[in-house]
């Protein structure tokens, strides 16, 4: 089993060539984590058992384990049990009265000790990567419903701004707290911004309501001397320069073949921002292990020439990705395991 070495990922995030092929995933599904770790989560709050994540990520050849910093999340109301959900499922905030009635959770009130407790389980050279409890735009949409947000943008822009401010300042605080732990090597700001055809709000509204908060998130992460990774799905071509030059993210994660295939993205972005993952989810879900290996090897080769690339899926490893296909990806980075 290869030993984790976070410096490899750090080199990738600094747009350099790592010493060996490096892997990156935003998240692995819990079932796969248990299989890789060889043990089951023993109680409800999986992320309070960082040792299982650490074992699983180490076994699969990652230089880090990813988890949330605490149980902090805004109250989105009751969540459906299905795999799929509508962005219009509900609307907790739809006018000034409902905004004033809403109880805002505060990140300072939560327990982050899992980030310290992880120290005893982290092998030398391995770090944690903290992911967020949904992003700025995602949280606002969860609170308002997408259609309602669109109508409020036209009818009540001041209310919209107040909602974004309440969400944004809490997420900045969350990242500031998480970045202060020295077990944490990097942080992922996860916030889906796009549809297939463009951003969910106009680029002008993204710049007005969403991006200033991301700029602040990146600032607090950088202030702690750590890299900031943006995980954001959808067509972001029109705001890519904002991501790189205005917000100052070190790496971009989440790519889709239909929008911006990772090979093309890497050709355009290498040297400007690190490119992480990108092997299209549909391709990974429906391709054969041989097809997946062929594409991953070609992408790794490309990435090892100029640097700033870590191999992985375009999004994450949910439970509908066949385990053999995930193993095919990591095998390209020299991790051969049998499960």
């Amino acid at each position: 089993m290869r030993e984790p070495c976070f410096d490899n990922l750090l080199k990738v995030l600094r747009k350099q060539v790592p010493d060996r092929p490096t892997l990156f995933e935003f998240a692995l599904n819990d079932n796969l984590v248990e299989i890789l770790a060889g043990e089951r989560f023993t109680h409800g709050s999986h992320e309070d058992q960082p040792e299982i994540f650490i074992k699983a990520f180490k076994k699969a050849g990652f230089d880090y384990a990813s988890l949330r910093g605490s149980a902090f999340r805004l109250d989105w109301g009751e969540q459906g049990a299905k795999h799929s959900k509508s962005l219009n499922e509900k609307s907790l905030i739809y006018d000034t009265a409902s905004f004033e009635k809403y109880t805002w959770a505060n990140p300072e009130d939560y327990d982050y000790s899992r980030l310290e407790r992880a120290r005893q389980f982290l092998p030398d050279g391995m770090k944690l990567i903290v992911i967020g409890p949904g992003g700025v735009l995602e949280n606002v949409i969860e609170l308002t419903g997408f259609d309602n947000l669109c109508y409020m943008l036209a009818d009540e822009p001041e209310l919209v701004e107040a909602i974004f401010n309440n969400v944004g300042e809490r997420l900045v605080k969350y990242y500031e707290i998480c970045a202060s732990f020295d077990t944490v090597g990097a942080l992922v700001s996860n916030d889906d911004w796009g549809f297939n055809t463009g951003t969910m709000l106009s680029p002008a509204d993204m710049r007005k309501y969403v991006f200033p908060w991301h700029k602040k998130i990146v600032e607090v992460i950088h202030k702690a001397g750590k890299p900031a990774i943006l995980h954001s799905c959808g067509n972001l071509k029109e705001v890519m320069d904002d991501i790189i030059y205005d917000m100052g993210y070190d790496a971009k994660h989440s790519f889709e073949d239909k929008i911006f295939p990772v090979e093309k993205a890497y050709d355009e972005l290498a040297g400007k921002i690190a490119v992480l993952g990108g092997i299209d989810m549909d391709f990974v879900a429906r391709g054969t292990p041989e097809e997946i290996k062929k594409r991953c090897m070609a992408m790794l080769e490309k990435g090892m020439e100029k640097g700033g690339y870590a191999l992985g899926t375009g999004n994450s490893v949910p439970d509908f990705i066949p385990v053999q296909n995930f193993l095919a990806i990591i095998s390209c980075a020299g991790v051969d395991i049998k499960l």
Binding site: H83, S84, S86, C150, F195, L201, E238
Partner: protein, 208 residues
């Protein structure tokens, strides 16, 4: 500027109240309901559709324009019915079984209605049989099925297979994040479109 142009412009800016006032005024000035619908409301929505396709406006602007259009149409409806104005035709629309995503589907509905097409919206998580029953019930010319998930897109094939098994004279158009032309061909669908405005443009050609 003519009152119908004013109406189109107000609609494009999403000014619902202004659209309602202009529709009432246009009726008072003797414009026919068909003229008001086609040269005022649908003309404005058409421009929004074209600008959306060109990434000049985004989903929020489309939704707000559609809200203004629907407010205008609601005022016109009794007049449209009494003067015998018919929609171009009917389509059946829905998100496939197991999938609750609705933003893309709703955009297709807006763009179709903006072309004067009657849309029977079955909602989300719709079983294949329900698409087929609705197509028969409403004598629809097109079934539009949306899917956002790799895990649900194969439900589109069920719709195609059932329609073919019943020899339904209906075209099947598919769309959604993971869907592409190659996939559409592989399941025997008649058409794939990657944005809502193009889907509506194609539907119009089916009714001509």
């Amino acid at each position: 500027m003519s009152i119908l142009n004013e109406m189109s412009e107000a609609l494009q800016k999403g000014k619902k109240k202004e659209v309602e006032e202009l529709v009432t005024k246009a009726v008072g000035e003797g414009f026919t309901p068909k003229q008001i619908l086609e040269e005022g409301l649908l003309a404005g929505m058409n421009i929004i559709g074209t600008r959306f396709k060109a990434n000049e406006v985004y989903v929020p602007e489309v939704l707000v324009a559609a809200r203004a259009m629907n407010a205008g149409i609601a005022l016109l409806k009794p007049l449209l019915v009494s003067s015998g104005v018919q929609p171009l035709g009917t389509i059946i629309l829905g998100t496939v079984e197991g999938d609750l995503h609705d933003i893309g589907k709703n955009l297709v509905k807006i763009m179709m209605e903006g072309k004067g097409i009657n849309v029977v919206d079955l909602g989300v998580d719709v079983p294949a049989d329900r698409f087929i029953e609705a197509a028969k019930e409403h004598d629809a010319k097109i079934i539009c099925a949306s899917s956002l998930l790799t895990t649900t897109m194969m439900k589109m094939k069920e719709i195609v297979d059932k329609a073919r098994a019943e020899n339904l004279s209906v075209k099947i158009m598919v769309g959604g994040a993971p869907v592409n032309e190659e996939f559409a061909k592989s399941i025997g669908a008649d058409m794939y479109k990657d944005d809502a405005a193009s889907a509506a443009d194609y539907a119009v050609t089916c009714f001509q």
